[in-house]
């Protein structure tokens, strides 16, 4: 967890940095990243009845009233309404403007001044300092002009700059909150309340106080706050946030429910199965919060640029004033300097990366993909090489009968006899054989006097004959005959990396079953889709070469390294890094933690392990392998958005700065354009939230409960008759 003062803004969930703005709202202390978020939060929470502190809105409203009056009179002044006969009213109007401007500057400029001051005493200059210096200069000059009855007054400039910056920050904050919409359900785990039913009474409690065994009522439309089991009620739930599963899941008495899923239609009474802070949802929440409050590489660079820019801009503005003071009246020179200060305010630069990243994280989260490091998306976007682990990533991770070779009998007969024997065994191969028989609807032949020979095979008697299943040597030991053609086929199956089980009865071997871990049905399409995205695909596995080659051929990977220890896998990654600079590694997060940590982007698929111990930067949901190309797309869009944001922000700043320094840009227009620039960055980033869902054209794995007989769209039926 990050330090408490490195938290997230209550409004837009962006990192608040080291100097948050703390405000009491509804009796709770809230931290905001900026003044705009503070206003927007108050406007938003104004919907609730108990909300009582409207002071910021009142300030903005009164500030608006004053500055609009000032602007009104100033427009009339500029357009020559007070010339000729009305000229005698001029000093009075100027005095009136001063009287109106003083409270306006205090009210609107206060937050900027406070921010500047609290940074200044820590020896830092922020962009607020630019506004304070600029507005302060315009105000002081105008006040002097009123007192001395000399020159023009620029109270309108001072107040309108403040007003535009305030409105700009507000609009920016509103946009940022829209960006955070996808993150809200993930971050709600910590602040969520649950309705605890204790006998006849119900009371609201924080999720943190929930423990195992408590009964919790979840009304329709509410989020289920804890993991547990349904005691009463029937409903549909939406578990997308946790599992990425977009289909609704039906729940009735006895069904397990997951914290973070939404109860859609009926009330559910559930019994909590553990503490509210130990749910996967709470873990996800902590992990996302952590990722959001840290800063990626681009962000750190932007921060440094912003920090360096402020003193530079101050100096530049001073030089501009000095330069123009020789050529223009002093008030005009001052105005040019003010325009430089206002227009060079690097707000948009600071916003470019974190906003796009947090929207990208939110977009992925909506489909159950978790990003644990802010830099991971940028790194994934840059990578040209993806390495895969095999077992559990490209394969199902469980043994299946993939081939049956027979000699003189039906495959089904051999399988039924083998299944009759193997149902007495706990071995992984035995389970595969039993499942295969069940999948074909075969009834295992009743077998008695079963004896297991450890490491070799299993022996029994059925229908008055001795039946055996096991290794080749086991059959030799029994002295059973084996047809040379069947033996040859068995050897070729072994050479392809399969485990083979010989099945025989009555002194002769009749069949050879090949058992293997089979590839994911969606693996080939996913790999093809990645290759379409100009990614170099590699298989790095600890398994033997024959198996690796066969799997790689099946799913279309050419670059294979087998027999690798974890260290050798790391070396393999290093070699690829030399060519491709940034490499990503995809694993199941169980036995490849080291390698995932070593890669520039570690991606874990469907990991059931504790999130806190995981080393992957990106975690895809269970059965979410097919989403990988989409995740790459989102990452690339995020990076593109960050770059366009930065290009816009820098390009705009440089052009506008030049115009301002040349005296072409009015300060008020500069402030409007400046606010517009930040809003454009927000709008550009918001496009990310509208990215399409992962493409359904990629084949999805059928749900486990409906997959009695798996037929792969790529490999055909799992078991081919011999």
């Amino acid at each position: 967890m990050s330090a408490p003062d490195e938290g997230l803004c209550s409004h837009c969930f962006l990192s608040i940095g080291r100097r948050p703005m703390r405000v009491m709202v509804n009796g709770k202390s809230r931290a905001f990243c900026c003044y705009g978020c503070c206003i927007a939060f108050q406007v938003k929470s104004g919907k609730s009845e108990e909300w009582d502190a409207a002071w910021i809105l009142i300030r903005v409203g009164v500030g608006g009233f004053l500055s609009m009056n000032i602007m009104l009179f100033s427009i009339l002044l500029y357009t020559g309404a007070f010339t000729g006969a009305d000229a005698s009213a001029l000093p009075g109007i100027e005095l009136l403007l001063w009287i109106l401007a003083t409270p306006a500057v205090v009210i609107l400029g206060g937050p900027f001044l406070v921010e500047t001051w609290s940074n200044a005493i820590r020896g830092r200059l922020t962009s607020s300092a630019l506004i304070v210096v600029g507005v302060g200069a315009a105000y002081a000059y105008s006040a002097l002009a009123v007192v001395e009855h000399s020159g023009r007054v620029y109270f309108d400039t001072a107040t309108m700059v403040l007003m535009l910056f305030t409105v700009g920050r507000y609009l920016e904050a509103v946009g940022r909150a829209r960006a955070a919409r996808d993150l809200e359900p993930l971050l709600a785990a910590e602040s969520e309340c649950a309705t605890v039913v204790d006998g006849e009474t119900e009371h609201r409690r924080s999720v943190r106080e929930i423990d195992a065994g408590m009964r919790v009522l979840v009304r329709p439309g509410e989020r289920i706050p804890v993991d547990g089991m349904v005691l009463e009620g029937e409903s549909w739930t939406d578990e997308a946030v946790i599992t990425g599963e977009s289909r609704h899941v039906g729940k009735n008495v006895g069904s397990p429910v997951m914290a973070g899923s939404i109860n859609l239609d009926g009330p559910l009474l559930i019994r909590s199965s553990g503490p509210g802070t130990a749910t996967r949802w709470a873990q996800i929440c902590r992990s996302v919060r952590d990722a959001l409050s840290r800063r990626g590489a681009t962000q750190r660079l932007a921060d440094r640029i912003v920090a360096a820019a402020v003193p530079l801009v101050l100096a530049l503005s001073l030089l501009t004033v000095l330069y123009w003071a020789h050529r223009l009246p002093f008030d005009r020179a001052l105005l040019v300097g003010l325009a430089v200060l206002v227009v060079a305010c690097p707000c948009a630069v600071g916003l470019a990366a974190p906003l796009a990243t947090s929207i990208g994280i939110g977009r992925l989260a909506r489909c159950g993909c978790l990003v644990r490091e802010p830099g991971a998306l940028e790194a994934l976007a840059r990578t040209r090489s993806i390495a895969f682990d095999k077992t559990g990533t490209l394969t199902l991770g469980e043994a299946r009968v993939v081939n049956i070779e027979t000699e003189g009998v039906e495959a089904n007969e051999a399988l039924a006899r083998a299944a009759g024997l193997e149902r007495h065994s706990e071995h992984g191969l035995a389970r595969a054989i039993s499942l295969a028989a069940a999948a074909r609807g075969l009834k295992p032949v009743v077998t008695r006097e079963v004896r297991i020979v450890p490491g070799r095979g299993i022996l029994g008697s059925a229908e008055g004959q001795q039946v055996a299943a096991g290794s080749g040597p086991f059959m030799s030991d029994l002295g059973w005959s084996l047809e040379p053609s069947l033996s040859a086929r068995a050897r070729s199956q072994e050479a392809a990396g399969h485990s083979v089980v010989y099945v025989g009865w009555g002194g002769r071997v009749y069949a050879v079953l090949s058992v293997d871990d089979s590839t994911l049905p969606e693996a080939r399409a996913t790999i093809d889709a990645l290759r379409d995205r100009q990614l170099n695909v590699t298989l790095l596995t600890g398994d033997i070469a024959a198996v690796a080659q066969r799997i790689a051929a099946a799913i279309g990977i050419d670059d294979v390294e087998a027999d690798l220890s974890p260290e050798a896998k790391r070396a393999g990654l290093d070699r690829r890094r030399r060519f491709h600079k940034v490499v990503a590694m995809v694993g199941d997060g169980l036995n490849d933690g080291l390698v995932l940590a070593e890669a520039d982007v570690g991606i874990a698929v469907g990991s059931a392990t504790d999130l806190a111990r995981e080393t992957a930067a990106i975690v895809l949901p269970k059965n979410g392998f097919w989403m990988l190309p989409w995740v790459v797309d989102v990452a690339r869009d995020v990076r593109k958005t960050i770059l366009t944001n930065l290009m816009w922000a820098f390009g705009y700043n440089i052009i506008a700065l030049s115009l301002a320094a040349l005296g072409v840009l009015q300060p008020i227009l500069a402030a409007a354009a400046m606010a517009g620039s930040s809003i454009l960055v927000v709008a550009n980033s918001l496009r990310l939230a509208g990215l399409p869902d992962p493409s359904p054209s990629l084949p999805r794995r059928p749900k486990p409960e409906t997959s009695g007989r798996r037929v792969s769209p790529i490999l055909g039926p799992a078991i081919e008759p011999g």
């Binding site: 108050q42 406007v43 938003k44 104004g46 919907k47 909300w51 009582d52 409207a54 809105l57 009142i58 300030r59 903005v60 409203g61 009164v62 608006g64 009233f65 609009m68 009056n69 602007m71 009104l72 427009i75 009339l76 357009t79 309404a81």
Partner: protein, 241 residues
């Protein structure tokens, strides 16, 4: 002056429309516990806030009209024509806008209504409700300021009229006349509550629609026919011409 009196009357008539939405705010602003004068102050401040926003919009609209219609490059003879063209374009756009608003008042063009009321009711108004119940002198003023920015076909229509005056001062006065026209009804709503029957409100709205339609036609005429335009301008804005 007669021109502004017409605008004031249009504002007054149109305020029966305001009663529908903004009147709700005025009612919600309610009475001050400290007595009648405090209540009156509260409502005056609210309406002052609203009026300020209207005047500001009027000044901006007028300045906008002036900026695009001021012949800046008069050294080039051709621009004399384009100045005229710009002025006419603004007048035509403003006139058409006002006619649309008027038609909407008569019950046609519902889409405008849905757009404005839907947006206002859902976002800003709901969000700002907290300001209505907040105590203190400044809250009603602040609410009035925000209220003035709520999308409203009446405000759009008069802002268009302000833009076609091509002068900030005329723009301010246009909006001020309109805003002051809405004062009586709005103050009444605050003080007396809903005393107006829907029938009377509908009559007021139709009346306002007629006024705005007339103004729109005159403005449009200024853009289209040169002779009528001059005549209308002389009639409508003669005192500052």
């Amino acid at each position: 002056m007669a021109y502004y009196l017409i605008l004031f009357a249009a504002g007054f008539a149109g305020s029966f429309h305001c009663v529908g939405m903004c009147g709700g705010f005025a009612c919600a602003l309610g009475r001050d516990g400290r007595g009648r004068s405090a209540t009156l102050l509260r409502h005056l401040l609210y309406n002052t806030g609203r009026l300020t926003t209207y005047c500001f919009l009027g000044a901006l609209a007028g300045a906008f009209g002036q900026v695009i219609c001021t012949p800046q490059g008069s050294r080039v003879p051709l621009l004399g024509d384009s100045f005229d063209v710009a002025q006419r374009t603004v007048a035509i756009v403003a006139g058409l806008l006002m006619i649309c608003m008027a038609l909407q008042f008569f019950g046609h063009l519902r889409v405008f209504h849905r757009l404005s009321v839907g947006f206002a009711a859902s976002t800003l108004a709901v969000a700002l409700r907290s300001l209505l119940v907040a105590q203190g002198v400044a809250a009603p003023l602040a609410f009035g300021v925000f209220n003035g920015f709520l999308p409203c076909p009446l405000v759009y229509a008069f802002a268009a009229e302000a833009a076609s005056s091509f002068r900030p001062l005329a723009g301010v006065l246009t909006m001020a006349a309109f805003g002051l026209g809405t004062f009586p009804a709005m103050l009444m709503m605050g003080g007396i509550g809903r005393i107006l029957t829907p029938v009377w409100r509908q009559r007021g709205v139709t009346f306002a629609g007629g006024y705005i339609l007339l103004l729109g036609l005159i403005t449009l005429g200024r853009g289209i026919a040169p002779m009528t335009g001059h005549a209308a301008h002389a009639w409508a804005g003669g005192h500052f011409g």
